[in-house]
Structure formats: structure tokens, C-alpha cells
Amino acid sequence: MSVIHNDFVIRFANVNGSGSASANGMFAKALFRMGIPVATRNIFPSNIQGLPTWFEVRVSEQGYLGRREGVDIMVAMNAETFVEDVGSVSPGGYLLYDNSKPIAKTLKRDDITEIGIPLSTMLLPEFTDPKQRSLFKNITYLGALSGLLNIDFEVITGMVATQYKGKDALIQPNIHALELGRQYAYEYLNAPLPIQVRQSDQVGDRIMIDGNAAAALGALYGGATVCAWYPITPSTSVAEAFELHANRLRVEHDSGQKKFAIVQAEDELAAIGIVIGAAWNGARSFTATSGPGVSLMSEFLGLAYFAEIPAVLWDIQRAGPSTGMPTRTQQSDVLAAAYASHGDTKHPVLFPATPKECFDFGAESLDLADRLQTPIIVLSDLELGMNDNLSEPFEWDDSRTYDRGKVYTAEDLDELEVFGRYLDIDGDGIGYRTLPGTHPDKGAFFTRGTSRDEFAAYTESPEAYERNMQRLLTKWETAAKLVPSAEINNQKRGVGVIYYGTTSLPMPEALEQLSAEGITIDTCRIRAFPFGDEVAEFVDSHELVFVVEQNRDAQMRKLLINENEFSPQKLVAVTYYAGLSISADFIYGEILKYYQENKLSRLTEVQK
């Protein structure tokens, strides 16, 4: 029988709160340490204990990180979802389950291979405490998998040793449980299976990290000193990671005191208010939330837009309101972010696609906010934020300085005859600001939303209002030049595809699949709004552009049409919004279908 190496999808079905997360995490980490590209995905309920949860690992020697349809190995450890889980195994796949109790005949499938391990009974004599027993069940199936899939055992045992460093009493029983599983696999299960892993060099120097931790590190390196937040999945871990790393990396040497302040606010209104207050007073600050929080923050975002106060807001997107589906991933806040608030507002939005980009944007957003004196919204999502993603390692140029934008110092003010907060001296729409307490006589002003002239004096003059609004548009044009530009591969192939954020993950694979069908298309990965000229050029130089995204209403497509007045006929929506991450198979299927239905010509005719 031929053996498949490093190319499969394994899914773990567990009960939330059963301790499976750490065992499953170790599984993925072990493959990663063997140099094999992996992508992990949590599918979890809005629940702390008891509801079903799934953890999926895509293993791909080619380095495809997007979700792939189908499950090759199912580790079915949740009785409640067993039927569903058995059903979701791809034909030819494997079902690993606890056969301490026999499974019903009706559930048997003859197109898959059942691998029963009597986990419960086999642990009975080993661990007397029932709680320990259920915890070690996870470790035991991990041991079994190591045998079945040929995972380097030392990598796993090494991980156990590091994980329980300091709690040495836990190391031995864990290793014992691992060995029990592994031995069972060798003795009774015909291990290894025809699906296996083997050492690879495809990971390179990449790291495995969740986007939220990366964002927090970026903010830390970018000089954020104030972080205000209110708990909401999937954004909570941004603030938590900031606290974790700041406590380590941002403490004053002599005094042990903190060079940062973190406030868990009473709600998102307060969180963004704190950020705005801190930034008005010259401290770099940020908050992280998800869609519901953005809704609450809208009024303040408008104030910051008009009052021209920097702010950085991370929105880790999830599905709509309430609980349940909202702990599933989506890209459905694009329009809400771009146009948040009232009275002619729009905000620069950044779209990171990898943890590396979360790190980079974490710092860059603070520079942009200071430079543009306006809120910057970074749109990540649950997929990127809460899953361990393979990522280029982070880098920091030690000669880099923060761009604090246009701020007059006391010396600048001394030289100045008149200070006009909202004068457009440089013609880029951005005025010079001053910070409270800077100068005894000069530069103080009263910050208001609207109703002010160039010198920040109160006025309700229609002309002054109009001038101000026009200047804000000039600033918007400046923003379009400063935000990260789109990543483009344009070979003038007539048809293009636009995507952004985590929709980029399955894209290389989808493009491969399409090119096997004779469909070759140019790509444009949008990294920010306002769109730079390069986006317009990309659209203009193609007859047809697919816009692939993860929301129902094709929000990026609408934003493109709205802002650049592209012909709606030209931009074809490809949307997935059911709560899992978009897959290569889906993108491929939709684009292929469009080609077939519209009888578009292909490069080569398909050879079947």
C-alpha cells in the first residue's frame, strides 16, 4: 500500500473544558517541530464547559494553510457529536474512537477504517482518580496517534517536559500515558497507518503563533503605553497577551514599576474613551474588541475623526450578534469599520493576513494614527486571532523610531507667531497638534468635534465647516498614500481576484486548483482602506475581477464600488459566511462555476 506523507486533515472532536485543548495543541506543535507546515483551527462553542468543540489540523507538505474540505482522520471523543463526526470522515479515511463501549451497528461505515482504542478501560487500572483518568485520556490518544502517524516520540516527550517544567510530578504520569497509547498502537493497531508524517524542512525559520498575541507584541514594540479593553471573544487574548508580554518586557529596571497601563474598562464605550483620552494627551494607546464593541464605540470614533485624535482599534471579527455563532470566524465588519459613526466619517482600515502582519500592523497602526491624527481600525478575525498560525518570524529594526506625527514642542511654539491647530500648513490636510501642559502661554486649545475654525475657536460658520470637511478629505488622500499598499501580481491576464485578511490563506491552493483547470488569474491582496492607486489600476487593467471574502453582503466589493465607482458588473462577488474558514475548494468551485456558466475561455482545455 502506498503511503501518504505530510498531507492530511485531522479533526479532534471533544467536549469543551475536558482538557483536550492542550493535548491537541501538542499534536500540532509536534508536527511543526518536525518541520512540517501545519494550520490549526478551533471551532468552539460560546460555552465554558460541556458543549462540543472541534480542533482541526491541516497538515501540508506544500505549505497550504487554508482550510481544506474533508477529514482524513477523525479523533471522535465526544459521544454527543459522534454520529455527525462519523459522517464527516472522507471516504477512505480513519475514525479513531474509544471502543470501551461498542458502537452501534447503524453507525458503521464500510468506506472508512475504524480504529478502536479502549481508552477508558485501559486507563482504569493506571489512574485511580476519575478526573485524572479523563484528562489522561487525551494524552493517551495523543500517544496512540504518535504511533499511528509515526510522529517523532522524543519531540512529544520533550514538549511534555517543557510544558510541566517546575511541576515535575506531572511529567512522569503524562509520559506514561503517552507510552500506553503508543504501545497500544504498535501492539494492536497495525501502526503506522498509510497516512503518516515525516521530518521535513518546509517550516524553515517560521514560528507558530496566534494573531492576537502577534498584535499585542506589535503594539508593545510600537510603543503603546495605554491599553483599555472589555472582554469579548475573540479579541480578549489581545489585551491578555499585551499584559503578559508587557509585564516581562516593559518594566522599569530600577523601580520595578510599569511603563504601561492596562484598564479593563466597564464596557467598550469606556475602552475607546480611555484610548482617545490617552492619545489626546500624547500616549500611544489601543483597544481590542469585536463587532458588538465596534457598534458601541461608534459615537466615539466619530468624535475622534472630527476632533482629529489618534486611536488604534483592533476588531477581531466574528459572526453577528448574541452568543453561539459569534464564536465563529467572519469578515463581516468591513463596512461597519470603514464608515463607523455619524456625520460623514470614514476611517483607515488595515487588513492583516498573517501573524507577522498582525505584528507589523500592531506597530504601524500606532504610527499611522499619530501621523494621520485619526482612528485606525485593524480588522483581524477569529481565524487569524485565535488560532495558532504558521508565520514568518517577527523582526524589529533597532534603528527604527516612532513616527509621532505633527506635534509642536514648547520650543516649536516659542518660535511660532500664531498657533492654528487646524491650519493645513503642509498641504496634506494634517494640522499640527499640541499636547496638554506643553507651554505656559502658547498652544493650548479646546478640542471639540465640529464647530471650530482653523484656530480651534468656536464657530458655527457654514464656510468654516465646509473648509474643515474639505481639509479632512485632503487628509484622506494623504492616508491613501501612507497606508500599506495592496500586494499585487498582475500579468495582465484579463481576469483578476481581490481578497484580503484570512481569505488569503487558501488562495494559493485555490489558484493552483484553478490553473489545473486552465484558469489563470491575477491577484490583488488588499491590505488597507483607503485604497491606493494600485488597486484602481489593478481593477482597471482587468475585464473581470472576483472579490472573495467571508461575509454575506460582499462588503469589500461594495466598498470598492462605493469609493472608486467601479462598474458593479465587473466585480463578481465570491462570498462564504457560514462560520468556518473559507476553503480553497470553495473558492475554486465558485470561480470554476462562474467560468462554466459564463463560458469564459481558459488557457488550456481541461484534459480529463
Partner: protein
């Protein structure tokens, strides 16, 4: 409304403070509030207090919400920055401002609508967080800027501009501040400079959350039934004479009374407010008895004024968070950025 800067020539007779500055150096722009509005008296008291304390006039951060009261930070301390934020959210903005620079004197001004209704949550939580600031509520029992609706501090049974009685229990912000852990709680009356100025001074130098509930009458919405100055009356009887939005000039309402005594103050809405000034026998160091005292007197129909509670040794938010002594907004790359070597170690921990 045009905006005229006041001439800055010093009156030769104005007293000079330790910095050689006079009260004029602490003033703001010309007020656009109604003549006689209590809020203007509060601004004047802030000016006087800051001048007397000889704090450099540019070392304040002024933040407010929205309302007539929240407009006032532009009417004092022109040399300091101010931020007129959004309705009910002064506390969060001030929290951020204070975290950014612990060296500035923070003055937050809010209204009773701003703090006791839309911003009730933020009021409660900034008090809990013990931000080092002076928190002033210009309490007029009404929404001045939106023309006279009831606010949540209005007494049950009093009547609105349309004559309808208030059906709901009032919220006492001073009692709440006591309960929520403010380390300085006072109440005063806008027209009682003698009491208000020293309270503001004490609050400004107090480290921690200093809350002052200042009863500050709104002279525009004096609408008790039968008043010849009520909106109803003017609408019915005077349409040809004045417009319905005509607001007559008012005299400032003042109160001048000794500690330990009452003063009955006639409010613009025709009601009478009985103020009771606490005397030197009152011990302001016991939070629980303070709360008890305020509540009991309140039950007897008296509004207690004076310093209700102070804890001179209380900690503020910076101490709670254990932040560095230097203002966070002054920290530079070398203070803030851990550098590439540390980052490579971070990378390694994710391999």
C-alpha cells in the same frame, strides 16, 4: 455666537499669586451660557481656586461631556488644553488623559444628565478606579441644553417645564461617590463661593478621586405652575410680546450661611432647596457615617453641603496600577521598545 477673547490687561488692584499671576491668567473665554446660570459661578470658583493655589495655569487637563455644564471648561483656564467629548463619557476620556500624564491636574466637568443618566456607568467606574482628579457635577436637576427635561437627580414630585411632576426617585451622586470609594466627596452650591472655592482647592490638591456635587440652578427653565415667567405662561399670555424661546436675564442665585445652619434657597423652578452646612463637629473621615448622615438628613428634606468625606492617604489609579513616576506620554523608544534581541527570543518561544 461670536467668540471674543477677553482683553488681557491686568487690573492693578487684582491680587497676585505666588507665580506673579492674577485671576485673569486663569480665566477662560466669554461664557455663552444664560445670564445668571449657576454653571458660570462654578467656573468662576474654579478660576479663583486655581489662582489661589498658584498652580501654573497651563498644567491642567480639562475634559467634559456634553451639556451646558460640559461647555464650561472653555470658560476657565484658557492656557490649558480642554476636550469637550461625548455625552456622558467624560470619565473614560479623563481616565485615559490621566493615565497618559500623571503630572497634570485633571479637571472633569459634567452635568447631572451627563453623569447620572447616560454616563452613570462611567461615573461609577471612574470613581472605583480612583483616577486622581477633580470631578465636578454642575447639578441643576434638569437637562439644560436640551431644554428642561427632568434629570435623574431631580426630586420626586417637582414639576417640569411642562408642569408634569417627576415620578421617579432621585439619584444622589454624592452618596453614590461615597459608596463607590471616592476618597474625597463634597457638596456645595454654585452661589456659595465662601464654601465652594475652598472645597475646589482641597479637591485639586487631594490625591485620588475628588468628587464635588455642586447644586447649580438652571435659570432658563423656571417653570413652576403659575409662575409668570414660566414657558407656559409666556406662551399663553405673551405671544405678541416675546418669543417662546425668550429667556429673561436672571440674577445669580447666591447663598451665604454659617456652618451648622440652614439656608432655604429659592430655586428657579419655584421650589425651595434647604441646604444644611455641616459644621466643625462633623468628622469627615468615616465613609459609612458620612453616607448615613447624608441619607438621614436627606430624608428630613435637607441637602447637606460641605466636605462630606476625605481620606488623605488614599491611593490613586497610578499607584493601584504601579505605573512609573514619569508620565507615560514622555517615554521614548529606549523606554518603550524592547529591541530586536528580545524579539528574537520571543520568536524562539513560539517555535
Amino acid at each position: 455666537m461670536t467668540f471674543v477673547a477677553k482683553p488681557r490687561t491686568h487690573h492693578p488692584l487684582l491680587p497676585v499669586n505666588e507665580l506673579g499671576l492674577t485671576r485673569r491668567d486663569y480665566e477662560g473665554s466669554v461664557s455663552t451660557l444664560c445670564a445668571g446660570c449657576g454653571h458660570d459661578s462654578v467656573s468662576a470658583a474654579i478660576v479663583q481656586a486655581c489662582a489661589e493655589l498658584s498652580i501654573p495655569p497651563h498644567r491642567f487637563a480639562k475634559v467634559s461631556g456634553i451639556g451646558c455644564s460640559s461647555k464650561t471648561p472653555s470658560y476657565f483656564l484658557n492656557k490649558s488644553h480642554g476636550l469637550n467629548s461625548v455625552h456622558g463619557r467624560m470619565p473614560s476620556v479623563m481616565t485615559g488623559a490621566n493615565l497618559a500624564n500623571r503630572d497634570l491636574y485633571c479637571v472633569g466637568v459634567s452635568g447631572d444628565g451627563d453623569s447620572a443618566s447616560i454616563g452613570m456607568g462611567q461615573f461609577a467606574h471612574i470613581v472605583r478606579r480612583r483616577i486622581n482628579m477633580l470631578y465636578v457635577v454642575d447639578n441643576n436637576g434638569t437637562y439644560g441644553l436640551t431644554k428642561g427635561q427632568f434629570s435623574a437627580t431631580n426630586d420626586k414630585g417637582s414639576t417640569s417645564k411642562k408642569g408634569a411632576p417627576n415620578l421617579y426617585e432621585p439619584i444622589d451622586l454624592a452618596s453614590m461617590a461615597l459608596q463607590l470609594g471616592a476618597s474625597f466627596v463634597a457638596r456645595s452650591f454654585s452661589g456659595d463661593k465662601q464654601q465652594l472655592v475652598p472645597l475646589i482647592k482641597a479637591a485639586l490638591v487631594h490625591k485620588g478621586m475628588a468628587f464635588i456635587d455642586v447644586i447649580s440652578p438652571c435659570v432658563a427653565f423656571n417653570n413652576h405652575n403659575g409662575s409668570t415667567k414660566s414657558y407656559e405662561h409666556i406662551r399663553q399670555h405673551g405671544q405678541n410680546v416675546v418669543n417662546a424661546d425668550y429667556i429673561a436675564d436672571h440674577e445669580e442665585i447666591t447663598a451665604d450661611y454659617e456652618p451648622g445652619t440652614f439656608e432655604d434657597v429659592s430655586m428657579p423652578d419655584g421650589s425651595t432647596l434647604r441646604l444644611f452646612k455641616i459644621d466643625e463637629n462633623y468628622d469627615p473621615h468615616d465613609r459609612v457615617s458620612a453616607l448615613n448622615y447624608v441619607q438621614r438628613r436627606g430624608q428630613e428634606g435637607e441637602v447637606v453641603t460641605g466636605l462630606l468625606y476625605v481620606d488623605p492617604d488614599a491611593s490613586d489609579c497610578h499607584e493601584i496600577l504601579d505605573t512609573v513616576q514619569r508620565p507615560l506620554n514622555e517615554l521614548q523608544e529606549t523606554d518603550l521598545c524592547p529591541g530586536n534581541d528580545a524579539l528574537q527570543a520571543v520568536n524562539e518561544s513560539f517555535r
